[in-house]
Point group: C2
Amino acid sequence: MAKSGKIPKATITRLSIYYRQLELLEFDGYRMVSSENLAWLCQVNSAQVRKDLGYFGEFGVRGVGYDVIDLQVHIKRILAVNRDWNLGIAGIGNLGSALLQHQNLWERGFRCIAAFDNDSSKIGKTALGGVRIIDIKDLKQAVKDLNIEIGVITTPASAAQTVADLFLKAKVSALLNFSPTRISVPESCLVEHIDFTVKLDMISYELHHEIGTKKTTNSF
Amino acid sequence: MAKSGKIPKATITRLSIYYRQLELLEFDGYRMVSSENLAWLCQVNSAQVRKDLGYFGEFGVRGVGYDVIDLQVHIKRILAVNRDWNLGIAGIGNLGSALLQHQNLWERGFRCIAAFDNDSSKIGKTALGGVRIIDIKDLKQAVKDLNIEIGVITTPASAAQTVADLFLKAKVSALLNFSPTRISVPESCLVEHIDFTVKLDMISYELHHEIGTKKTTNSF
């Protein structure tokens, strides 16, 4: 689909952010948006917007801009979020529970359809979001039965590698790791890591260095 | 502190990521690291590492690399995370509770010292992490009394703007918004937004486009 071979990872993240702003523009009733305005909303420059989209085709009309709805369709196709993905969450503490009932995940097609824990007081109970909590020992069978493609790790750091290994044995295609630790996986498995404190480092830097200057951002 | 005026936001995010890899290198017993190896660990190229650090000074030794401990000290100072920051969390559901007991936040100096909610069954109770839950109506006084600098929003989307307005009236310096909605703030307030689904979009893209190729990443 892409015109050139390797697309920068940052481009993919920005497409995701452009998409969210296009949704908001549509909600606000806009039909067209210029690359300048989309860039401004996403805190990048307009050449970057055109370059990022240019990897995948010609989507704008010169002098007019982008169709707000059409461009969403294109980006959804590029990101392959025009389909649903099945997620299994391991570690049903507060964070796992928050994800299970996170409306935004479902709305975006990331279906949290399985919940795993090793706590016998939780196993068999219905978690928030209506999913029954499965014994983590039965993870492999459940991943197969439910066609889980993405494993989400919300365990304490001490359990993260063990859980990652279980997901790998069950042959999930990717892991999303919320635990504050490194996990080792073979090269055949994709891992993304979410660390809230990276955003807080950004806030710390901005507050320290830019107090008194313009500092509104609404980045993702 | 910076040699030039405006530092790209992406540079600040990468410094945060370099710092986390340097911690891991130190933990593993490394004393020195080349820009090539640090770049490889952080999934960027070595010129980028040198450029990012170059905004702030000369930290490496030519032909040798960076001192793993010294560079952590420099980055902590640049990011202003060589001090503690006081956080108040509004919305003590599952996500708010997860943050209150998130060991990693405290270890990095982001002290969640206040918890706010509007649910009378929660107010006055002790939340996870040992903080007493304060009536959100008393947010302004608590922010003043406890010197809260950063407001964290973990409410449902429908309450996010109201809570943001309360934090703004209480004169916090920055907001970290976990709710899946836009919030409007004056330019004098910094806002960062965390949307888990941006990482899932990345996974979706990678799974769709790069199945069968090398796809291990461990980015933040």
